[in-house]
């Protein structure tokens, strides 16, 4: 057993060495700050955000009850509802459209996945150019403004349309990602399933609903989890397109923007920022759990 013990000790040492870099980074920049944020979250700070002191854990309930948090949570939820289902539908639609063997289909696929190359800043600025209040490019086209007068005053300026406009830019920016993931999912569906459905006399639409969609289950789950978490962490598009406005309603103040935005009232208050961020974390955890559970019953994992 001496050899075994020696190898064991050697392997443990080696493992420690190999894990050390990752553990240090993850410990210092994920685990420690998470713990610290939970702790910070119960500290009350003065208005400059300095001189924080422990003051019980009711800051969490205070924030949870605050109108600002409610408002941001509702805005964020709306944003997710505007972006996720539409993003999935468009992604699936594009992927199915391009899932044929046609000459030059590769070019179309490249184009459809290309928005993955645009960072959130680039995508948002492109849309800003189109939608910008007063100077937006779309507002310069006569027939468009006649058709949608609101474009003239500015979609991003109108409290009713601002969030939808931001959501559109976000859907566009995420389209490439969804397209790529769904395309890969489509290609992993065994072909004989389609053949047997065809032999059973199922038409195109029936094959789509009875074979494609169920077999895409795991892919759709993955895509939707990613899209939901992106929606709940949306920051860049808000920062660039609306700054959380239009004010004073804060129509596009999402949770992340509430915490870190330029206009944020808690920008300099670490305690409150931490509290809100931890609550955002909890919301995301719950959402992921719900998605996995509800999908789990319906998803068909291909063996």
């Amino acid at each position: 057993m001496a050899l075994a013990r020696r190898t064991r000790r050697k392997e443990t040492g080696l493992a420690a060495l190999m894990l050390a870099p990752s553990l240090v980074v993850l410990g210092l920049f994920v685990l420690y700050p998470l713990g610290k944020a939970i702790w910070l979250g119960h500290q009350r700070c003065n208005s400059q955000g300095k001189a924080c002191k422990s003051n019980g854990w009711d800051q969490y309930t205070d924030v949870l009850r605050s109108p600002e948090f409610h408002h941001a949570l509702i805005v964020t939820a709306k944003f997710a509802l505007l972006t996720v289902p539409l993003g999935l539908v468009l992604g699936v639609g594009l992927a199915v459209l391009a899932d044929r063997y046609l000459k030059g289909i590769g070019i179309f696929r490249t184009i459809f996945s290309s928005t993955v190359a645009t960072s959130i800043a680039v995508a948002s600025l492109m849309w800003l150019f189109l939608l910008q209040p007063s100077t937006g490019a779309l507002a310069r086209v006569g027939w468009i403004t006649r058709l949608f007068p609101v474009i003239k005053t500015g979609l991003l300026n109108d409290k009713g349309t601002a969030l939808t406009a931001v959501a559109m830019s976000s859907v566009w920016a995420n389209l490439g990602f969804t397209f790529i993931v769904v395309t890969a999912g489509l290609q992993s569906i065994p072909r004989d399933l389609y053949e047997s459905a065809f032999v059973d006399g199922a038409g195109g639409w029936r094959r789509f609903t009875n074979v494609t969609i169920p077999m895409l289950g795991p892919t759709l789950l993955f895509a939707s989890v990613v899209l939901v978490s992106r929606a709940f962490q949306a920051y860049g598009e808000v920062d660039l397109l609306t700054d959380g406005g239009p004010q004073p309603q804060g129509s596009t103040t999402t949770l992340t923007y509430l915490i870190y935005g330029n206009e944020s009232t808690i920008r300099n208050n670490d305690g409150l920022q931490a509290t809100t961020a931890v609550l955002l974390f909890v919301v995301l955890l719950v959402l992921s759990a719900v998605q996995f559970r509800s999908f789990d019953k319906r998803v068909h994992y291909a063996s």
Binding site: M1, A2, L3, A4, R6
Partner: protein, 334 residues
């Protein structure tokens, strides 16, 4: 060159005992077959010789060295894996050279040795290919060449032929025997295939459930099986074993190989035919002993003469000097 000595080897994985107190002497230049059904501990035993597992108890000696505490690479042992375990990203040449490269041999030496090993196994024209471009048989040869190139004292082989098709397996058996003669080193070869064991081994060690059953030359093991397990594991169809009562006095078990039973009007065993299998060169007749309906026996009989039909009642006689006697409790030979 060296023999291998295993003294009281036991290996436990958690609560299960994979190998239980096995002692075997493998002489220098032996072609030792470790034979047994899957899960009998034969592979574990081999891996302990190679140094890939450590025995829980007991000693492993290679030549005059106790190697329990010696790393695999220093044991003077090479191993051929069932899956061949070739490095898929390296060429055949690089695969064969690799052990020498790790050892630090000069490039020239390595290349010569690899070329020689490749020559010996007819791989010369494939040296530049990757394993993925080779057939199963060729890959198997590369694995052999990689073992040979180190000129180890002991070759460990873990079911190296099991991934080949039947025809190739037959050819390779003969080649391995020739290789063994040529290299003059010790082979330890694990298999569950009794044909491989019988045709290739100079000696066979039969194992079951971690326990060594018998060690001997193939003929010894076939002719004088020391337990009912060995008796039924070697030979197709397996030896018939039944209570003595119907054939001769006593409470022991009697074993008779199917080829040592004859259909004979005056035979003492009355039996009802259940199944007749025509194999072309012979016929296998499966029947139940009348009066002992739980006892099934198989008779091998030539295709000439009358062949019984299913449902017939026949009489069977067992050759007197080809009967084996076993203790009904322990299953050991009496």
């Amino acid at each position: 060159m060296a023999g291998v000595r295993l003294i009281g080897i036991t290996k436990r994985f958690g609560g299960t005992t994979a190998v239980d107190g096995v002692s075997i002497d493998i002489a220098d230049r032996d072609f030792m077959i470790l034979l047994g059904p899957s899960g009998c501990g034969k592979s574990t035993l081999l891996r302990m010789i190679a140094g890939l597992e450590d025995p829980t108890e007991g000693e492993v000696w290679i030549g005059d060295r106790k190697v329990n505490d010696i790393e695999p690479k220093e044991r003077d042992v090479a191993m051929v894996f069932q899956s061949y375990a070739l490095y898929p990203h390296k060429t055949v040449q690089a695969n064969i050279e690799f052990p020498l490269k790790v050892r630090g041999d000069a490039k020239k030496t390595r290349e010569m040795a690899a070329r020689e090993a490749a020559d010996m196994l007819g791989l010369t024209e494939y040296l530049g290919r990757k394993p993925g471009q080779l057939s199963g048989g060729q890959r198997q040869r590369v694995a052999l060449a990689r073992a040979i190139v180190r000129q180890p004292a002991v070759f460990c082989m873990d079911e190296p032929l099991s991934n080949l098709d039947a025809k190739l397996r037959g050819e390779t058996r003969a080649e391995l025997v020739a290789l063994h003669h040529r290299l003059g080193s010790t082979f330890v070869y694990v298999t569950h295939d009794q044909v491989e064991a019988m045709t290739m081994g100079t000696r066979i060690a039969v194992m079951n459930q971690g326990v060594l059953q018998q060690v001997g030359t193939p003929q010894e093991v076939y002719d004088k099986p020391s337990t009912t397990f060995v008796a039924t594991f070697l030979g197709t169809p397996p030896m018939n074993i039944f209570p003595a009562g119907s054939l001769e006095p006593g409470n022991h078990l009697v074993g008779v190989r199917p080829e040592h039973l004859t259909i004979d009007e005056n035979g003492r065993l009355a039996a009802r035919v259940l199944l007749v299998e025509q194999l072309g060169h012979e016929v296998h007749v499966t029947c139940t002993v009348i009066g002992h309906s739980e006892t099934r026996i198989v008779v091998r009989t030539p295709t000439e003469g009358t062949i019984p039909r299913e449902g017939d009642e026949i009489h069977v006689e067992a050759w007197a000097h080809r009967r084996h006697h076993f203790d009904p409790q322990t299953g050991r030979r009496i």
